[in-house]
Symmetry: C2
Subunit: 443 residues, 2 copies
């Protein structure tokens, strides 16, 4: 028989207890922050009918970047590449029963079929935070505040990251109405803008020209993308404002986009979040965003990458043929966050879940150890007993290598006297104690 | 466009906050108990190379009951139907680095392709508890004690469940050496025994006869399966003991099996676990068990079903071409456990994660609410703010329907005075308090 592979499936990870400890720490901090804002956890299956993704995601993703297959009943099934379509489906499913606004979160594992690379694996976990039923910009402000609070709760200094904000409406207006690009061109331009940071200026302009065909349009695009403050794209508005005013006097999407960026950026600064800027190049990959989008970037100039992001997607729940629900959310991946925390040395050191390891001088004390450990557990200690029958040194070494903080050995003396030497394996300190004393020492 | 389905994929579940609350409660109790025994959490990807299951599981399961497909690179991939092969792979992968004995647990989601029915879904979660590197029966006793403790921690009276114990070695010996069945016959007989409880006596005998061909062998099998105490199958041993003794004087598997059943059943009774019995009909579905197997049954005569189980599987790590590691473990599914706890009314009532809901008389108080809620969060409260701008009654109704225990409203008076009416939505009681007072009331 062929030798079996010991490795996990390509692009996925094994989580040994040390890895799980890190994962638990990261999820624990995320949970603590989002729950402090009253967000409730939800989840769903990793499998969904493929039509769910066909209906809403950018085509690229449905076709090439998902794990999709037919089940034995001939049904098209996809392993979730993201959970937003699922949560939209769930909200739509109970559209009439749920008490809005909803504040929901989840930390699902997601799978994408792509070449594994640093920070991008085939399977990752992602905190998803979503609020449904809040139309105003307070929702965006809360989302971004939560994202900010999570970064700070991890101990990341706010000089080390930047929160970039854009308006999908403003961008759509600029591309479709101002530049009058057709649908295909708009889509291609926004994909190009998405990749801008990975391209050289000349290469970017060249690619842009081949999409929009006209040089003056490329110039406008470049000018638009260079704006450092949202006020600097006012020129996009002015022209059209007149036209719109002439027609019906209503504000258009471009004005709305600019106003909302101002409101969010200004509002966050008022709340004490200073590292927030307008960035017209910010597109976000998915095409369901309808309003403000935001993304958190590593501010390290050597590693200026996107860490995570989100935005408003008011139309997604509506695709299920139920009454629309406004929605704002973001997703934060574990692989990237772990990488950031490792870089800044912000991960805690591994600790065993066990408080105490009981070693046995002979297996005849097994029942005694069963009773002793049972009593200690009742008092809240986590206790493992070594039943291997190995030499005492080997038993203690196991505790040490597994980073269990305390150890005690049971032999004839201990059974008779009811007194135990409790050793702190970190400091080497030993204290003699009875049962109650063990609990006191370890606490 | 075709109307999108609102339902989850067949045989899977959506977990709305209320469902997630139950799931979290169940997992929380499981975690608390296994961690008190010093078990460390691990996890892995939901995808594995298909060869992992081909190499070890009963054929039936690999071929028909898994989600298996080819990835875009032509690799055979399977969504894990169980995590035991994975954990064996992980132990084998770090065979030389790990400090044994290991106490590990995980609560993975698992997928099987089968017709959904009560208590059996296509996707479920399963607590898996495994100890590696303990050869003696203390490992079995610990496993079963943990299983027992979890049931008790859920509040299930020990009269409501029975722990059945058998020895795979004893059964194998009986079928292969005593009855001299061939491999195929043994396999078919053990599958039949597995289904015995779902068959009528006559039907069972008939099926058995068509497998083993000889009536006297069927009689022996029926006699074997009727034993209520392990001592009653002594007749299996005696004959062979002589033969074995004549050859090399060593104890055979049958004696070993009987002795170990005695040791485990007797040992558990000594530790205070009385609802434990020998049951020769207990087979367990998977074919990797090598020693003691056990299963916990609902003792309700109207619903006498298997709840969960496990056993010893000393040979599994060895299939990876590394030095053998002894192993004992069990798996406990969430669907079955939830069903049991519902039946016995042992599930807690839903509680919102939010402690307090702040309603706004006008959106002009949004920033004030941001600050107030921020301060309360720093003091450990989970606080949600209603930013919808709806009428105050609608806001309070949301809190009530979401089962948030406390509510307060912010208007001009509150902003000026710094005093708030904190209402307990359960009792209807209202108290006036300043910020510090809010925390005291809610705690």
């Amino acid at each position: 028989m062929k030798k079996l592979s010991l490795e996990p499936y390509k692009g996925t990870r094994d989580f040994y207890p040390e890895d799980m400890f890190v994962q638990d720490y990261i999820f624990g901090v995320m949970r603590m922050v989002v729950e402090s804002y009253g967000y409730q956890e939800y989840d769903a299956s990793i499998l969904e009918d493929t039509e769910l993704y066909r209906a809403k995601t950018g085509e690229e993703i449905v076709n090439e970047q998902t794990y999709s297959f037919k089940d034995r009943g001939g049904r098209d099934v996809t392993i979730r590449p993201e959970i937003t379509p699922t949560v939209a489906r769930m909200v739509a499913r109970k559209r009439k029963e749920l008490a809005f606004p909803l504040r929901w979160y989840s930390i699902p594992n997601l799978l994408r079929y792509e070449r594994p690379q640093r920070g991008r694996l085939r399977e990752h976990w992602q905190l998803n935070v979503d609020a449904f039923g809040i139309d105003g910009m307070e929702a965006e402000k809360e989302m971004i505040t939560i994202a900010y609070d999570i970064m700070r709760a991890f101990g990341v200094d706010d000089k080390k990251f930047v929160i970039k904000i854009n308006s999908r409406k403003l961008v759509n207006y600029f591309l479709n109405d101002y530049l009058k690009l057709n649908k295909k061109q708009s889509y291609d331009v926004s994909k190009l803008i998405d990749k801008k940071n990975k391209m050289k200026e000349k290469e970017f302009r060249g690619a842009m020209e081949s999409v929009v065909a006209k040089k003056d349009k490329v110039k406008k695009i470049v000018k638009f993308l260079r704006a450092g403050e949202v006020e600097e794209v006012g020129w996009v508005v002015k022209r059209v404002k007149k036209v719109e005013k002439g027609k019906n006097g209503k504000r258009g999407d471009e004005t709305d986009g600019i106003e909302k960026v101002k409101e969010v950026v200004g509002g966050l600064k008022k709340l004490g979040i200073k590292n927030v800027v307008f960035d017209p190049t910010l597109m976000r990959g998915f095409d369901y965003y309808t309003g403000i989008v935001f993304e958190v970037f590593d501010a390290n100039p050597k590693n200026n990458r996107s860490l995570f992001g989100g935005g408003r997607y008011d139309d997604l729940v509506g695709i299920f043929d139920v009454e629309k629900v406004s929605a704002v959310g973001f997703g934060m991946g574990d692989v990237t966050m772990k990488d950031v925390l490792e870089t800044y040395k912000l991960l805690p050191e591994y600790e065993s879940v066990a408080d105490l390891y009981i070693c046995l001088l002979s297996s005849e004390y097994a029942n005694f150890a069963h009773d002793l450990s049972g009593d200690l557990r009742k008092q809240g200690l986590n206790v493992a007993v070594d039943f291997t029958g190995r030499k005492i040194g080997a038993q203690i070494k196991t505790a040490d290598r597994q980073k269990i903080p305390f150890v005690l050995c049971v032999g004839e003396d201990e059974v008779k006297s009811g007194k135990f030497k409790v050793k702190n394996l970190g400091s080497g300190e030993e204290k003699v104690a009875d049962q109650a004393g063990i609990v006191r020492i370890i606490r």
